[in-house]
C-alpha cells in the first residue's frame, strides 16, 4: 500500500482511533468515555476500509457504533443513581504497568516475527466471498453463533426482569 491516499488515511485514522481510545481512558465523565469509544469504533471501521474489508467495516459501524454503544448508553441510563465518574481504583499504577508491558510485548513480537507476506493485493469484493464461506465452510460456527445470540438475548431478559 504505497499510494498517497492510503498512507494519509492510515495515519489520520490511526491517530483518530488511538486518540479516541486514550480519551476514553482519561476523561473524567463516563458518558464522554462512551462517546470517545464510538469515535474509536468509527476509526477502526475506517482502518478496515484501508484494508479493503468493506463488508466488515460497515458491519463494524452498524453493530459496534450503532448497537453496542447504544446498549452501553442504555445501561448507563438504567443506573441513574450510580456514579457517572470514570475514575480509577487504587489499581491504577499496576494496571498502567501491565498494559504497557502487554502492549510493548505484542508490538515487539508483531514487528519481529517474519510473517509470510502475500502479494495478491487488496480484496475486490468481500461480501459474496464472506457469505459463501459462512454458509459452506463455517456453517456450524455460524449456527452456533446464532444460538449463542439467542441464548444471550434470553439470558439478558431473564436477568433484568422485574417481578
Amino acid at each position: 500500500m504505497t499510494d498517497t491516499g492510503t498512507i494519509v488515511a492510515f495515519w489520520a485514522l490511526a491517530a483518530l482511533t488511538l486518540g479516541a481510545a486514550v480519551l476514553a481512558a482519561t476523561t473524567r465523565n463516563l458518558l464522554h468515555a462512551v462517546l470517545a469509544l464510538i469515535l474509536s469504533f468509527i476509526g477502526v471501521a475506517g482502518l478496515y476500509i484501508t484494508l479493503s474489508a468493506d463488508f466488515v467495516a460497515v458491519a463494524q459501524v452498524l453493530i459496534y457504533a450503532g448497537a453496542i454503544a447504544v446498549l452501553i448508553i442504555f445501561a448507563i441510563m438504567l443506573t441513574p443513581n450510580a456514579g457517572r465518574r470514570n475514575d480509577e481504583t487504587f489499581f491504577r499504577l499496576p494496571a498502567l504497568g501491565i498494559a504497557a508491558v502487554m502492549a510493548s510485548t505484542l508490538a515487539a513480537v508483531g514487528v519481529a516475527t517474519d510473517w509470510p507476506q502475500a502479494t495478491r493485493g487488496p480484496f475486490t469484493e468481500t461480501s459474496q466471498a464472506i457469505g459463501e464461506a459462512m454458509l459452506n465452510q463455517y456453517i456450524l460456527p455460524f449456527e452456533i453463533a446464532s444460538v449463542l445470540l439467542l441464548v444471550a438475548m434470553l439470558g439478558a431478559i431473564v436477568i433484568v426482569r422485574e417481578d
Partner: protein
Amino acid sequence: MNPLTLSLSKGTELFLAEWWDIRDLGNPVARFLELVDDAGGPDWLPYVISGVIGILAITGWLVTSQLAFVWIERRLISRIQVRVGPNRVGPMGLLQPVADAIKLLTKEAITVQAADRWVFWLAPSLVVLPALLAFAVVPFGEQMVLADLSVGVLFVIASSSLATIAVFMAGWSSNNKYSLLGAMRSVAMFISYEVPQVMALLAITIFTSTMSLSGIVNWQEEYHVWFIFLQPLAFLVFLIAGAVEVNRSPTDISEAESEIVAGYHTEYSGIKFGFFYVAEYFATFGIAAVGVTLFLGGWTLFGLEEWIPGWMLFLGKVYGFFFLFIWSRGTLPRLRIDQLMSFAWKFLLPISLVNVLLVGLEVLLWQENGLSAGLVLPIFAVVNFAMAGLLIYAWAKLMRPLSQRAPRVRLMQEVGAIVYGQEAEA
C-alpha cells in the same frame, strides 16, 4: 484512475456527450476532470475534486429542495387541515422559508448554563452528517453516483444508525429531563425499527444478490419490474420504519409537544435548532431517495428514461415519495410510545421474517429450476401480494387485545351485556 472518473467516463461513452449534455450530469464533471487531469498535478487531485463537486452538488440540491418543501409541506398540511397556511411573505407565501431561515440565523443560539458544553455544541453539527452520508451511495442517474459501494444497502442502514448517537448527545447534554426523555425514546425507537427495516431490505437483496444500489436499480430495469410490485410487504415495512427513523409525525414521539415539550431539542435555539430542523428534512429526503432507488426503480420509468434525463425522473419520484410523508403527517394522529414499540416487535418483525422466508423459498425455486423470469416474476408478485394481505390480516387478528379475542366476551358484547373492564364502551 479512480473508480469515480472511471464510471464517469463510462457514462460519456454511453451518451458520447459534450460537456453541455445534461442528460447525464456526470458529463460536465467528467470533461472538467479530464481538463484537470491533462493539466498535470498529483494523481489524487481529480479524485478530491470529483468528491468535492459531488458533495457540493448534493448538498446544494438538498438545501434548495428543503427550502421549497418547507413551504410545500406547510401549505399542504394547511390544506389538509382546512387552513390557508403561510401566505404573507412574498407571493403566496413563497418567501416564508427564506424568512424563517433569516430568523433562525439572527436569533441568539443560547447555551444552557448546566449544559455539557462540548457535546451540546457538537450534537447539532453531527446530526446532519448521517442524513447526508446516505446520499453518497444513492444513484441519481445511470452513472451519477458519488460512490457505488458494493455494500450500499448496509451502508445506508449503518449511516442512519449513527443518527441515534447525535440525537442522544443532544438530549443528554442539554441537562433537561424532557430532553433526556426524548433522546431515550428516540434511541429506543431507532434500534427497534432498524430490525424490521433490515429484514425488509434483506428480502430485496436476496432477489438481486447484490447490495449495490446501482445494481438493484439495474436489476429492476433488467426484469422490468419494480420491487414495490414484487415486494409490497417489504415496501410497507420500509415506509413505516423510515417514517419512524426520520422522526416525523405520526411517529414523532421523541419530540412530542403534548408530552415532552420538544424532546431532545428543547434547549436548542437559533441556528442550532435550525440544524435539527434541517436534519429532519435531509433524513426524510434520504429515506425517500433510498426508497425510490430500492422500490420504485430509481432513475428508470419503463423506457421513458430514453426521453427524459434519468436524474429528473429520480428527483420527481423522490418528491412524490416525500409527499407520502406529508400526507401521513397531515392525516394520522400521533401514536403512543408503547404502541410504537409493540408494533415494531410484535407486528412488523414477525411478518417481515415470514416475508424473508418466503422470498428465500421463491428465489430457491427460481434459481434451482432455471425458470424464465418472465414466467415466475408475475407469479411471485401475485403470491407476494396475497401473502402480504393475508399476513397483515391474520397477524393483526392474532395480536388483537385479549378482551376482543375471548369468544365469551364477544358473545356477551353481542347480547349487550356489560363486560368487566369495558363498561365505558358499553
